[in-house]
Amino acid sequence: MPDPPSDITISYGPTYNRNLKRLNLREATQQKLDKAWNEILTAVRENPDIPDPYFAGDPIPRNNREVYKLRVADPDHSRGAQKGLRLIYWWRRTERELVGLYLYPKSEKEDVTQREIDSARSAFVSANPVTKRP
């Protein structure tokens, strides 16, 4: 695990630790994960309010801009960031603490995201019916 700069601490919640144990990452993916944490640290240090999304990921809506999602490549399974791991962490600005909340392969939550996308599409179409030309 990376060494955090002295002004920011990193901790890992029980769910994250369980996920990490279950995933049993090999060296190459573990290195990617360590690199990701280091880049998050740098990003939140440079701009605690709106860290660079390229390195810190994006805030998940409705979490007071405190919970972020970052994509991490998974070379163990020959997966780039797009299909690799999802790191969910909590950025506690006031406490200056980063907390690992979740770590999962994208495929694990694919049904959740697809369901939401399908439902959003249907809801949007119902609310904005296409008017046929006469």
């Binding site: 919640g13 994006d58 809506p61 979490n63 909340l101 599409r121 949007f124």
Partner: protein, 150 residues
């Protein structure tokens, strides 16, 4: 917050993509290399599309960084659905592009690569928005936070 217009793709970006899509469709019918005027028009069209995509991407990120009360169900739904429409347009453009002349000019290849990267980022943003809209996932996050706070 009123300046966050998540419906933007239905206007400038969709218009830019529609324009360049027609040009690429025309290019796909070219048997040999692209005529210079068509190449220049595609280049300008792609440049405009990339520009609009970048503006909209920034806007979506502003939305993700907006206060929770602004991130209503209605707005989340609209953003997810708008990205969905946009991704379909992108896929159509890429399909047409594959039918374009065998050796497109390097500068157009580079623009298509930029557009492909933008597409990937839109997929990522859509996934984040969808997770935010999911009650089940939000409950999981809340649980993980509670556990981590103990």
């Amino acid at each position: 917050m009123e300046n966050i217009d998540i419906r933007r793709p239905e206007i400038e970006l969709a218009a830019a993509m529609g324009g360049v899509g027609s040009l690429v469709r025309f290019a796909a019918k070219s048997e040999k290399n692209l005529p210079p005027n068509l190449e220049a028009a595609i280049y300008d069209g792609l440049r405009q599309t990339i520009h609009e995509a970048s503006l909209w991407r920034d806007m979506l990120r502003n939305f993700l960084n907006a206060p929770d009360e602004y991130q209503t169900d209605e707005r989340l739904t609209a953003a997810i659905a708008a990205i969905d429409l946009l991704l379909k347009k992108f896929e159509g453009l890429f399909r047409l592009w594959k039918r374009a002349p065998a050796r497109p000019p390097q500068r157009l290849i580079k623009q298509m690569e930029t557009l492909s990267e933008a597409t990937e980022d839109f997929r990522n943003l859509q996934e984040t928005l969808a997770l935010g809209r999911s009650t089940a996932f939000q409950a999981e996050i809340a649980q993980a936070r509670r556990e981590a706070s103990r």
